[in-house]
């Protein structure tokens, strides 16, 4: 088990390093990075000052060293607009995004898993077919459009729910629904196919041959096996959700890191943009690591692999 964890940790670290290199390279690729790293509307003197500060005329390796040492110290740059370190901004907004993602994820699992199980157990019935159509629609509708339509309905026409901001339960309902919809469809599909696979397995057949009640066969033998891929997906999806929430947060003016990113673009505040990508990517690497380790805990087979 230990070797397993160490190995995964090693992979994660390599990924993080590559991540930083990628971002670094892309910023430098576009001609004059100074123009990005400087405030909009700066004078030539300012541009030169920035060039000096980031050592942009020095060899790439040196620049990268500066960049990395900054990152490791927690210095992700300073926001032009807010005049505070970006890391602080990011961390202050992160909990909001987590809340939104948590609610959206709960919603997607509460809808996705039971419908997936139902569709699998009643495969090819009208329930199953309806579920599949549902899933297809969910996967085809962009989340921000769902958000906009929801606002149209519930805020403009019905006046029941607030269209922006945060603070009460009513504020989180629409954004969470819009965000979670796609994932509900994806979870439903995966649950269904995973369940179908498991229901056809020999050990399920044997469980039935043992004379176990069907409820038990499904709930104990089939479900646990079937849910492994689904929960893995859900764990990974949580972080994806946080990052994909950019547009939903923008639509609803939800004060999370997605909206922060939008502000970064709208105000041409590059440090925010760069930091968000770095931090977002790091989060995903980190979560992948945790999910891998958890997977190893649940499924005893994984632990004993190389």
């Amino acid at each position: 088990m230990k070797r397993f964890v160490l190995r995964r940790l090693g992979y994660a670290l390599v990924s993080l390093a590559l991540l930083s290199v990628t971002i670094f390279v892309f910023v430098r690729l576009t001609g004059d990075p100074a123009l990005l790293l400087v405030e909009p509307g700066a004078s030539k003197a300012d541009v030169d000052a920035v060039r000096e500060r980031f050592g942009l005329d020095q060899p790439l390796v040196v620049q990268y060293a500066k960049f990395m040492s900054g990152l490791l110290r927690g210095d992700f740059g300073q926001s032009f607009y807010y005049r505070t370190p970006v890391l602080d901004l990011y961390l202050s907004r992160l909990p909001n995004s987590l809340v939104l993602a948590a609610v959206a994820m709960s919603f997607s699992l509460l809808i996705g898993i039971p419908t997936g199980i139902l569709a699998a157990v009643r495969v090819n019935s009208w329930l199953d077919r309806a579920g599949r159509v549902f899933a297809l629609l969910g996967l085809s509708l962009p989340s921000f459009w769902i958000g906009l339509v929801l606002i149209l309905f519930f805020s403009v026409y019905l006046g029941w729910l607030p269209s922006s901001g945060s603070g009460t339960v009513f504020h989180v309902l629409m954004p969470a629904f819009a965000l979670g919809w796609y994932f509900a469809a994806s979870h439903m599909r995966l649950t269904r196919s995973s369940m179908l696979d498991v229901l056809g397995a020999e050990y399920v057949k044997l469980a039935r041959l043992k004379g176990l009640p069907e409820q038990r066969v499904i709930a104990k033998h089939a479900l646990k096996n079937a849910l492994i891929p689904v929960l893995t997906l859900a764990g990974i999806n949580l972080v994806i959700m946080i990052n994909v929430a950019v547009v939903v947060e923008t639509v609803f003016a939800w004060p999370g890191i997605g909206r922060l990113l939008y502000e970064g673009i709208a105000f041409r505040d590059f440090p925010i943009v760069q930091a968000t990508v770095l931090l977002g990517g790091s989060m995903i690497v980190f979560v992948n690591l945790i999910v891998d380790v958890l997977y190893g805990l649940i499924d005893p087979r994984i632990r004993y692999e190389r």
């Binding site: 892309f26 990113l261 968000t276 977002g280």
Partner: protein, 294 residues
Amino acid sequence: MNASTAVVLADVPRRATRRLSSYPVVPLTIIGLLVVIALAADVLAPHNPEVGALGMRFRPPVWQAGGSAAHLLGTDHLGRDVLSRLIFGARVSLVVGFTAVIVAGLLGVALGITAGYLGGWVDEVIMRLTDTWLALPALTFAIFLAAVMGPSEMNIIIVLACVYWTRYARVIRGEVLSLKEREFVRLAIIAGCSRLTIMRRHILPNVLNSAIVLATLMLGVVVVTEAALSFLGVGVPPPKPAWGLMLADGKRGLMAGYWWLTVLPGLCIMFLVLAANLLGDWLRVKLDPQLRQL
């Protein structure tokens, strides 16, 4: 399991006793229709999509009070005709979508085959790169790239290709790994073919099936991402009519109840993505039941 492979994982009913139609009528019709519309945009659109009459702002569609036959689907905040913008928007979405998917595919397949076939450190390096890139949240990374490169139609295509090639690479590499063990590859090696030849003539044609299926699935994702980018302002720049941009503009009129500026472009996106997904599903079942796990 990793972020994007997990997201791409979907299912096709295995024990389905449903009939598989010989032709995927619905998706092909939709896509075909959109292609025709995009090609004939100049002829079909009643007005210039980029110029509007300020006196005709926020007109509703023809069937609502205040609408007129001159603007069947209404006008936007600058008085531009919605129908014309939707028609030209099809062109933008399709061009960007198809090109990005193909470029990403070329890149991803090439790298996937190289990594899978050559193995060893080449494989490790490429895979670490792929995994890292996969770890980057697609939308965020796309936004970052777009911010760095500046908005233009061309740049967006490059951005999308850069973000999504990884989806192909991972899957294709997996396929190549199992293909490597097959008889005909061994025979080619014994016959003395160079590695490049084997990759090109033996491996490539066999992974094309998966690549095509992936491409159709990616089309939907790419279209939605492009719409999101345009919505946020880092995609296709105004005044070009992209559906995502129309949604952004539509937001201005949302609280006033000007629903057609939001609902209509969204429906267009939905139809295109739906068609792409349906086509992808159909292809998956048709081409090879093995591709189910895609």
